[in-house]
């Protein structure tokens, strides 16, 4: 499996993907400070700037942006391979389709997980550095805050990676359509913000849990049904 995951990386247009990740990192690095200082500065009902532990909630919401990167990865790894017919090369190898799909899924998972994790670190450091100069968040981070941030970064990176798979089965493997995949991801990314409007009263963490579960179902269907819907 490790070899198959490595081969997925080698088949990719690496420069394009790396460039894309760098853009995400740069944007998301400054977004917490931008939100705290500009967008939410005058909002009475949110106070993410109250403490570092409050600011963490904002960070988590912002890193959901990587779900969109997930759509891009589904496009590169599945949809483009179907459209360019390079998927047929893979199916001609003496490896079962389920194993090939699983390798692609692991590759996407690792790519999103690691990118999101790095993004958490980068935006954490950037926010802290800005805070030292322009006082964005009240107080200083405690050791407990840093430990909590590390733990939540790891867990949330995994959650973002799993949520990214929601469009995989329907739009990635079955319909093989880029635009619906992207729209679906934008919707997922913004869903916690829409939840209130849709009268969904679940806590944000539970909401992420439900979306993650849907992502896992999508992965399961992608692997289980690849012989039925995955033909060239």
């Amino acid at each position: 499996m490790t070899k198959l995951i490595e081969l997925e990386w080698r088949k990719l247009e690496q420069k394009k993907v790396i460039g894309e990740v760098i853009i995400y990192w740069v944007i998301l690095m400054f977004l917490p400070v931008f939100f705290l200082r500009v967008v939410m500065a005058d909002l009475a009902f949110t106070d993410f700037a109250e403490s570092y532990s409050s600011a963490m909630e904002l960070m988590i919401a912002i890193q959901m942006g990587f779900v969109l990167f997930g759509a891009s990865m589904i496009n590169h790894v599945f949809i483009e391979e179907y459209k360019n017919k390079t998927m047929s090369l893979s199916f001609g190898y003496p490896i079962s389709r389920k194993k090939l799909v699983m390798a692609k899924v692991w590759f996407i998972f690792l790519a999103i997980f690691l990118s999101t994790l790095v993004s958490f670190i980068l935006s954490g450091i950037t926010t802290y550095v800005f805070d030292q100069f322009i006082d964005v968040i009240h107080g200083q981070p405690t050791l407990a805050d840093i430990i909590a941030f590390t733990a939540r970064s790891i867990v949330h990176s995994a959650v973002v990676a799993v949520i990214s798979f929601v469009p995989l089965f329907l739009f990635g493997i079955w319909k093989r359509a880029v635009i619906p995949t992207v729209i679906c991801s934008v919707f997922l990314m913004q869903f916690p913000n829409f939840a209130g409007m849709l009268h969904i009263t679940l806590s944000v963490d539970l909401l992420y849990g439900v979306l993650g579960l849907i992502g896992l179902v999508s992965v399961y269907l992608s692997v289980a049904k690849v012989n039925q819907v995955g033909d060239i």
């Binding site: 081969l7 080698r10 088949k11 047929s88 199916f91 001609g92 190898y93 003496p94 012989n227 033909d231």
Partner: protein, 307 residues
């Protein structure tokens, strides 16, 4: 000879439409087998099933004596193929494409890549991306990929498609050389009879998704028949003269004015002289050799099989 491929009642249905139906195909070790049939007959679908690209709706495939299924695809390690047209990761170089291919098959021999590239005159393209290749170069690179892991069976769908005349000749020679010198079994497809005739030892005729007939080319050669065809307005008198004056018995009236003489002991000039001397007006007289095309046309129209 052992069977490299044996299919039993191989059927593929897509959205209720039958693409191939109950195909029982046998390809023997060391032979070059040609699938012949018009466009859309189902040749590519059969090849896709044989190389694991699509899953049959029903029926079974035995590859090197072992059943080919989604969970047992080991036989594909011994197969090289180009189906439809060669597909590559266009943003990668030829070498990168070949290395990835070899690693998927668990084949690690750097020298083999260079040797194979030399064999099809594709040297010095190490850093060139595949997207910058011409169609002919891609076709040759496809061949390299198909043979690089030293397969025992190579499946080529319309192998000369898109090639210039020199490329076509090179391709034919390469197939012949790999078959004769390395004993590689080939399964080829084409809708052009002349193409198949020049390369195949045995031919399978596909029509409307069905394998109409499987026949050795040598057997068809034996069946070739020559005949003289003449056109005249006085058919009855001509037949009478041919039978009684020239003692020709194997005669067939094809149309109202057209007669075929299968007894070719008499020459065209003999027949002409005799008929003209009896005031028969000959509009046309010509000696024909029935071609493979006639044979296949006859088969496709529902002719008898050669056993």
């Amino acid at each position: 000879m052992k069977d490299v491929i044996r299919t039993h009642e191989l059927t593929k249905t897509v959205r209720g439409k039958t693409i191939t139906s109950n195909v029982n195909l046998t390809v023997k070790k060391g032979e070059t087998y040609g699938l012949l049939g018009p466009n859309g007959a189902g040749k590519t679908t059969i090849m896709k099933m044989l190389t694991g690209l699509i899953i049959p709706t029903s029926g079974e495939i035995m590859l090197f004596g072992k059943k080919l299924t989604e969970s047992a695809k080991d036989g594909l390690k011994r197969v090289g193929s180009i189906i439809e047209y060669p597909v590559f990761f266009e943003h990668l170089t030829a070498m990168e494409n070949l290395r990835i291919h070899c690693e998927y098959l668990g084949f690690y021999d750097g020298k083999a890549i260079t040797q194979a590239l030399d064999m099809v005159n594709l040297q010095g393209i190490d850093d060139k991306k595949v997207k910058d290749f011409s169609l002919g170069m891609k076709q040759r690179l496809g061949i390299v990929r198909a043979m690089i892991t030293k397969p025992e069976l190579i499946v080529l769908d319309e192998p000369t498609n898109g090639l210039d005349p020199i490329g076509i000749k090179d391709m034919r020679e390469l197939i012949r050389m790999l078959n004769k010198e390395y004993g590689i079994t080939f399964l080829l497809s084409s809708h052009i009879l002349g193409e198949i005739e020049q390369m195949a030892d045995r031919i399978g005729m596909i029509q409307h998704g069905k394998l109409v007939n499987e026949v050795a080319l040598a057997d068809i050669q034996k069946l070739r028949t020559d005949y003289i065809e003449l056109v005249t307005s006085n058919v009855q008198k001509t037949v009478y003269l041919l039978e009684h004056k020239l003692q020709i018995s194997n005669i067939k009236i094809v149309k109202d004015t057209r007669i075929r003489i299968y007894d070719t002991a008499r020459s065209t000039s003999d027949i002409s002289k005799t008929l003209i001397s009896d005031d028969i007006e000959i509009e046309e007289i010509q000696k024909h050799t029935s071609t493979l095309e006639d044979y296949f046309y006859h088969q496709i129209q529902g002719g008898d099989k050669i056993d």
